[in-house]
Amino acid sequence: MLDIFKKQRQRYATVNPVTRDIPDGLWVKCPRCHEIQYSGELAKQLKVCARCGYHFRLSARERLKITIDEGTFIEWDGDMGPVNPFQNPEYGEKLARAQQESGLKEAVVTGEGDIAGHRVAVAVMDTRFMMASMGTVVGEKITRAIERAREKRLPLIIFSASGGARMQEGIFSLMQMTRTCAALSFFSSAGLLYISVLTDPTTGGVSASFAFAGDIILAEPGALIGFAGPRVIEQTIRQKLPEGFQSAEFLRQHGFVDAVVPRPLLKKTLAQILDLHRSD
């Protein structure tokens, strides 16, 4: 009787944890729409979210893989590592960590290759390496790429992404803005084509130098593009920035980029522009 008052003993089942082999990063969550997707599938979609169209950042190697015709890429200055002009130990450690994590020696990969059969010089910045900040060697590699493109009379494509100048290299990093602009003005006076592709994020010393010096400026959808970063602006004006401020679309609307090109169409668009500039 009165069983209902009897305290029911809770029964627990012991589940033996089965360790399945799930490698890290097999599933990826979209930072915009929070959709969880299989990373293999995402890679097939060029890392564009199937649900909301968010463009995930690409590493330099991933960018080259989807842009340059297979087997045609020749890297330039791949062995050039960073410098530590003021022998700052904190910076030295940071560099070592960035190299380890990214598998790159510096934040930009340069070289030449084909885009749908058109030979081009290309530079790709990689945000995994200290937010692709521009230090002396990033400036040097880009300057050399521009100079080589001029010597070989190749069109130049730079995929920019950067948090800005690399503070730890002081004025040396700031001067890279002038150096890259100088190389570009030489390049330009030779009548050669420079297509600047702005990817997420392109800010600071990079946007205020070579990134905005393109004959043609393209941007990827949703990319953050500007001079000052949004946090700095918010601190300065003491208010929140509106949604979409400094997005690629915002810049197109204000007249600062020629076209916003979704990633799946980017290679085709580049090929089309290159074809229209063919000199033969």
């Binding site: 050039m80 100048a165 004025i171 990093s173 010393g205 205020a208 130098s209 010096a213 001079f227």
Partner: protein, 321 residues
């Protein structure tokens, strides 16, 4: 405004002034005492200013009494006429420009403009330019090129303004164009950093044939406060940051990143603006004399070479591997 490290100098100067007044009123000859104190004051200034820390130089560079661009233009040049506007959007009071005569020669002058007090600084946006400022500078530089006038550019800015309007009107694009425009100008260009040379906003006017710095000016990729705040999450460590960032004229000259240091009167430019301007004028005249002697091709070749060499091979003690 007086900084703590300047206080002993100011107190001594006040004492000298008082003695002079006293001597005048009472008709007593105190010249010996005054002379002694003046000598002491000089020695004190020398002692204090010969060992300023990098952070103290930052403070001197930002001193509100420090002569600003218009002060220098007026002291260095005659017949100055200010020209306004970028012909696109508006006129930016944070950058001034125009034409003038410098030692007999017609020149174009441009520069960041700070105020001496809060009211002036608000009107000048503390010398932080918007895109229209850089576009005005570029317009005036190209005008100088057309009429074969040398360009004198004065730099004194915490940096380009990080605001909404600035972004909407293409701050990055404006700076990029200003750098390239100055780099390719077919007339001599001399940049003088008067106070703060802050980041890309300063660099926009520093892509010419010569970069000179006043003795207590600073030139940096980012402010010491921001450096400390970003790297150490502690803006109060700005003094440490200033120490390791290599931002003083002396450090940058040692790295051959600038072409000359312009001495300042003892105690800093704000203690004697006429003497400060005389020294700036001497330095500009010296470099200008050399630059006007080059053909346009030679001028541009040297200018490009100057920037080309600031790469990794150039850095002391660094192996590029």
């Amino acid at each position: 405004m007086v900084y703590d490290f300047e206080r002993p100098i100011v107190e001594l100067e006040e004492k000298i002034a008082e003695l002079q007044r006293f001597a005048g009123e009472k008709g007593i000859d105190l010249s010996k005492e005054i002379e002694n104190l003046e000598k002491k004051s000089r020695e004190l200034k020398e002692a204090i200013f010969s060992q300023l820390s990098p952070w103290q130089k930052v403070l001197i560079a930002r001193h509100p009494g420090r002569p600003n661009t218009l002060d220098y233009i007026k002291l260095l040049c005659t017949d100055f006429i200010e020209f306004h506007g970028d012909r696109c959007f508006g006129d930016d009071p944070a950058i001034v420009g125009g034409i003038a005569r410098f030692r007999g020669r017609a020149v174009t002058v441009i520069g960041h403009m700070k105020g001496h007090d809060t009211k002036e600084n608000l009107a000048r946006n503390f010398g932080m330019a918007h895109p229209e400022g850089y576009r005005k500078a570029l317009r005036l530089m190209q005008q100088a090129e057309k009429f074969k006038r040398p360009v004198l550019a004065f730099i004194d800015t915490p940096g380009a303004y990080p605001g909404m309007g600035a972004e909407e009107r293409g701050q990055a694009h404006a700076i990029s164009c200003c750098i390239t425009g100055m780099l390719t100008l077919r007339v001599p260009v001399i940049s003088v950093i008067l106070g703060e040379g802050g980041s890309g906003g300063a660099l926009a006017l520093a892509s010419g044939d010569r970069i000179l710095m006043q003795e207590y000016a600073v030139f940096s990729v980012i402010s010491p406060e921001a450096y400390a705040s970003i790297l150490w999450k502690d803006a109060t460590r700005c003094q440490d940051a200033a120490g390791i960032m290599k931002i003083t004229a002396q450090e940058l000259y040692a790295y051959q990143l600038i072409d000359g240091i312009i001495p300042e009167p003892l105690g800093g430019a704000h203690r004697d603006k006429n003497e400060a301007a005389r020294l700036v004028g001497e330095a500009i005249a010296h470099h200008l004399e050399e630059l006007v002697g080059y053909s346009v091709e030679e001028l541009l070749r040297r200018r490009f070479e100057r920037f080309r060499r600031i790469g990794p091979e150039y850095l002391p003690g660094n192996d590029v591997t």
